[in-house]
């Protein structure tokens, strides 16, 4: 262990150094607090400081406080040498950041035992930091994987898609996607797995995969051997299939809400089905009004045997759809008020002259200024599409 001795009395310092070196430690020496800080700065491996209390220039307590305030990366275990054995001094020392005390004159057996106690704590802390580091790296790499799964903003067959995604902490359970199912039919969805973190994120990854059409038949498109060889499944059928496939266990309620739709890019006809998800908003370009596309539906995974409802609407050129998860409307400001549906709808009601990109940045700014911070308790995710034949 690398140990720094801080003691103004040269003979005492040297004696202590000899003893510690004999015990196999690497020893550094300083004669006051300032010198000690310089040595710590240039030797980041020093984990233990044994410091005298009374010293000229900067005393032991001031040194301890300086170390606690400094940017030194690792925890430094601070032991104070003191002739003051009174309780008051010990309390003051601990309150100001010291870890342990050794009375002068030094009993070397006691010093060695106390050092071992300190080393145990340092090693425990190092082991913990190591594990946390591994977990954080894994989380960061999962977050990286998640961001690669997200669809790029795109224009597919007269339909423009764009979105905003801000996961809570590292990882979120929100997911969205859009794709062409054939020459004139596109599917799109936005979903929200209950909870956060690894289990929810992994679940959302697999949902992203299962809702993807790969050409050989899937949950969203049925294949046949005879012409026309396929059938695009209606949104309610897709939700029923998902619900049969992903029943949550009572002990771990991993369920999700979703809005799933298909749009005919030639005619502008849209059919949407939802399972416990916030109602998608229809931004009507001619009347400049915002309309909710409401239909009920039990979240996917809660109960087997549920049925879902299709709602079909006819878009006009320039109409937009706004799909979002409850992280948008349940975002709370500093006094605990939620952003809410009304605020969202009235904000969107003023975006008819904006591009899709501008809508996204306006909603983003609004939520951020509502929250007053860049950290969110829930994922904030929304998807905007525009039909422009």
């Amino acid at each position: 262990m690398d140990i720094l001795i801080v003691e103004d009395a040269r003979d005492q310092r040297m004696m202590l150094a000899v003893v510690l070196k004999k015990q196999g430690h690497r020893v550094f020496e300083a004669s006051d607090g300032y010198e000690a800080l310089n040595i710590l700065e240039s030797h980041p491996n020093i984990r233990i400081v044994i410091s005298d209390w009374m010293m000229p220039n900067m005393d032991g307590i001031a040194l301890c406080e300086a170390i606690r305030k400094s940017h030194i990366g690792c925890y430094v275990y601070f032991m104070l040498l003191t002739g003051k054995s009174d309780r008051q001094a010990v309390v003051e020392g601990i309150n100001r950041g010291a870890d342990d005390f050794i009375n002068k004159p030094i009993d070397f057996d006691e010093l060695s035992a106390r050092l071992n106690a300190g080393i145990r704590i340092i090693e425990l802390k190092a082991a913990l930091e190591n594990k946390i580091d591994t977990i954080e790296k894994d989380l960061a790499s999962a977050a990286e994987t998640q961001s690669r799964l997200l669809s790029e903003p795109a224009k597919i067959q007269h339909v423009d898609f764009n979105w905003y995604f801000k996961p809570s902490r590292f990882l979120g359970g929100d997911m969205f996607g859009y794709q062409a199912l054939d020459g004139e039919t596109l599917s799109f969805y936005q979903l929200d797995v209950a909870g956060h973190g690894i289990p929810s994120a992994l679940f959302s990854f697999s949902l992203n995969n299962i809702l993807r059409e790969n050409g050989s038949g899937s949950l969203v498109k049925e294949s046949f051997n005879d012409p026309p060889f396929y059938r695009v499944k209606s949104p309610d059928e897709v939700l029923v299939s998902l619900n049969e496939q992903f029943q949550a266990k009572p002990e771990a309620m991993l369920y999700f809400t979703i809005a799933y739709g298909v749009i005919n890019s030639r005619t502008g006809s849209v059919t949407i089905s939802q399972a416990g998800h916030p109602s998608p908003l229809w931004l009507k370009s001619h009347s400049k009004t915002v309309e909710k596309i409401s239909s009920g539906g039990v979240p996917i995974g809660m109960m087997p045997g549920m049925t879902y409802e299709n709602v079909t609407i006819q878009l006009q050129p320039g109409d937009r759809l706004f799909l979002y998860s409850d992280g948008v409307t349940e975002c709370e400001n500093s006094t605990g008020d939620m952003f809410g549906e009304e605020r969202l709808e009235s904000l969107l009601g003023n975006t008819f002259d904006n591009s899709i990109e501008a809508i996204i940045s306006r909603v983003d700014q609004s939520i951020h200024s509502w929250k007053g911070a860049d950290v969110f308790e829930d994922d904030v995710n929304f998807l905007v599409l525009e039909w422009q034949p």
């Binding site: 009572p250 369920y255 009920g296 809660m302 409850d326």
Partner: protein
């Protein structure tokens, strides 16, 4: 623990002494409800939601988990939900899964 139970007319009435049924207490609420099923004398339950002003997906999860755990036996009714909680039940069509009544008394009397 912010949960309490008492017996009344063959029902176990469970009340929540918190204004938010969210991720911070939903797991302990679920465990509490599971204990009621496993150790309780009655599998007829009414959950009094009168104090809950906000419920999130984890709270909903705890209630549905309990319903699943009961596996069709007994009954689980909800009572006295506040408007924001009712909104969540509406959005998620929970009325398809639960009987929701305005008061605990009505929940007990409902056949």
């Amino acid at each position: 623990m912010p949960f309490e139970s008492k017996s009344e007319a063959g029902y176990t009435i469970i009340s929540i002494d918190e204004t938010r049924l969210d991720a911070s207490i939903s797991e302990s609420f679920r465990v509490y409800l599971f204990d009621q099923i496993e150790n309780g004398s009655s599998n007829m339950m009414v959950i009094d939601l009168s104090l809950v002003r906000f419920m999130d997906s984890s709270g909903l999860g705890a209630l549905v988990a309990t319903l699943k755990k009961m596996g069709g036996e007994g009954s689980l009714k909800l009572a006295a939900a506040q408007p924001a909680v009712l909104d969540l039940f509406n959005l998620t069509s929970m009325d398809k899964l639960f009987t929701i009544l305005p008061t605990v008394t009505e929940a007990i009397e409902e056949k």
